[in-house]
C-alpha cells in the first residue's frame, strides 16, 4: 500500500471539491435561472470533459503548462515553479476535468426550485443572499451532495490527464490510480490489488452515501 499516493489522492480530491463546489453553486444557479446569449455554448463547454478523452485534455494542458506557454509562463513568473509535474498542475487539471461533475447535479437541483418560490421570498423582504442561504440551499442540498460525491470519486479515479501532466512523482503527483498502474508494471500484484480494493471501497462508499441519502429523502417526501 502506497500511503503517500493515498494522501496525494485524498488531498487532490478534497481540494478539487473545495474549489469547485462554490463555483458549482454559483454557475449551477446561474445556468438554471438566467437566460443569456451563448448559454448553450457555455453548457457544452462545461459538459465537454465528460466526452473528451482525458488524453486530449492532458495533451492540451501539457502544452499550456510548459514554461514557454502563456499559462505556464505566467504561473512560473508568479510562483517560481512550473505547472507540469507539480501538485498545483494536477490540481488545475483536476478542476477542469471535474467541471461537469460539480456543476451539472447542482444545476439540475436549482432547476427544480420553482421561480415563484424565489419571488415570494423576495416579496417577504429577504435579500438575494438570504434567499439563497435560507430558501434555495436547503432545497438543493441533495444536488450539492451528489456533486461533491461525484467530484470526489471521479478525482480519485482520474488517470489519463494526471499521467500526462503529472509524471508520477512520489508525494507530489503520484495518485492512487497512477500508483496502481506503476505497481502492475513493477510486477507487484499484491500492492496493486490492495490499492485497487481500497479505491473500490471508497468509490462504493461515496456513491452509497449519495444514493442512500437521496433515497431517504425521497422516502421522507413520500410520507
Amino acid at each position: 500500500m502506497d500511503w503517500s499516493a493515498f494522501s496525494v489522492s485524498l488531498r487532490l480530491a478534497a481540494l478539487t471539491c473545495l474549489f469547485l463546489l462554490p463555483l458549482g453553486i454559483w454557475l449551477g444557479r446561474l445556468l438554471a435561472t438566467a437566460q443569456f446569449r451563448g448559454k448553450g455554448l457555455c453548457e457544452a463547454l462545461i459538459a465537454l470533459p465528460l466526452v473528451l478523452p482525458p488524453t486530449v485534455l492532458g495533451f492540451y494542458l501539457l502544452q499550456q503548462f510548459g514554461r514557454d506557454a502563456p499559462l505556464g509562463g505566467a504561473w512560473s513568473a508568479l510562483t517560481g515553479s512550473g505547472l507540469n509535474f507539480t501538485f498545483s498542475g494536477i490540481l488545475l487539471a483536476s478542476l477542469i476535468a471535474n467541471l461537469p461533475f460539480a456543476i451539472q447535479p447542482i444545476q439540475r437541483a436549482f432547476e427544480h426550485v420553482p421561480a415563484n418560490l424565489r419571488e415570494a421570498a423576495w416579496c417577504s423582504g429577504l435579500s438575494p443572499w438570504q434567499t439563497l442561504w435560507r430558501i434555495e440551499l436547503p432545497l438543493v442540498w441533495p444536488g450539492i451532495l451528489s456533486a461533491a460525491a461525484l467530484t470526489f470519486a471521479h478525482t480519485l479515479g482520474e488517470f489519463g490527464v494526471i499521467l500526462l501532466v503529472g509524471g508520477a512523482i512520489d508525494g507530489e503527483t503520484r495518485t492512487l490510480s497512477i500508483a496502481i498502474y506503476d505497481r502492475v508494471q513493477a510486477f507487484d500484484e499484491q500492492g496493486a490489488a490492495s490499492m485497487s480494493a481500497l479505491l473500490l471501497v471508497i468509490s462504493l462508499a461515496t456513491l452509497g452515501l449519495v444514493y442512500g441519502l437521496a433515497g431517504k429523502r425521497r422516502w421522507a417526501r413520500g410520507q
Binding site: 496525494v8 488531498r11 478534497a14 507540469n84 501538485f87 512523482i169 510486477f187
Partner: protein, 255 residues
Amino acid sequence: MRALLLLCCWLLSAPVMAGAPIVAAASSLQFALEAAAAQFTQQTGHALRLNFGSSGNFRRQIAQGAPFELFLSADEGFVQALYDEGHVDNTGVMYARGRLAWVQPAGRYSLPDEQAPLAGVQEAIAALEEGQRLRIAIASPEHASYGMVAREVLQKAGLWESSEALRVQGENVSQAMQFALSGEARGGLVAYSLAVAPALVGRSEAVLIPEAWHTPLRQRMVLMPQAGEVAHEFYAWLQQTDAKEIFQTYGFSTD
C-alpha cells in the same frame, strides 16, 4: 469546526516528501535499481524516490521541466539529445550495458536454441498461417530503448513485416514483459535484466539475443543541473563496486 480547520491546514500544506531526490530510471532497471537504492539507503541513510518508465518518455519530461535530479537512460542517445539541447551540462557516464533477450512464459513452449533465439517469433508467424494467433511483445520502438533494438533485430532478421499482425507494444519494457508473460503471447523481445529478476525468474524463460545483432545498449546516466548532494552521492555510488555487483546480478555487464 476545529476538525474542519485542521482538514483545511492539511489540504493547503505544501505536499511533503520534498527532500528525497527523484531518480528517473529506464524500466529495464526496475528490479536492479530498487536493489541498488535499498543498499545505498542502508549504507548512507539517504532516501531516494525512484520513477520507472521508458527512457524516451523521461527524455521528453526532462525537456519539459520535470523535477528529476538523476536520469538513468537505457541507452546513450537520449542523454546525448538532452545534452545537445542544453538541458544537462555534460553527457554523464555509462553505468552498464544492457542485453536484449527472448523471454517466454515458463514451461509452456519449447525454448529457442541459443543459436536461433528468434525461433519463437518464426513459430508464432507459422502458427498465424494456421489460424492461431500467438502474440509477440516488444516495448514501444518509438520511445523505449529496448523497443528500438527489438525492432532493429526483427528488421535485420527479416521478420518485422511478417510479425506485424502479432506484435503487441508495451509503453515501456516492463509492460512489454507483462505482455510477454501473459497467456496470450508466445513471448517477447525484452530486457534480460527483467527475466533474471528474482521476482520473475520462476515465471519466465529467457534466451539472450547476440549483442552483435543490434546497436549496443550502452546505458548512460546523467545528473540534472538541479541535482542536490544526495543525487551526486548516489551517482558516484552507482559507479562503485557494490553497485556494479548488483547490476551484474541482474544480467547487465559493467566493463
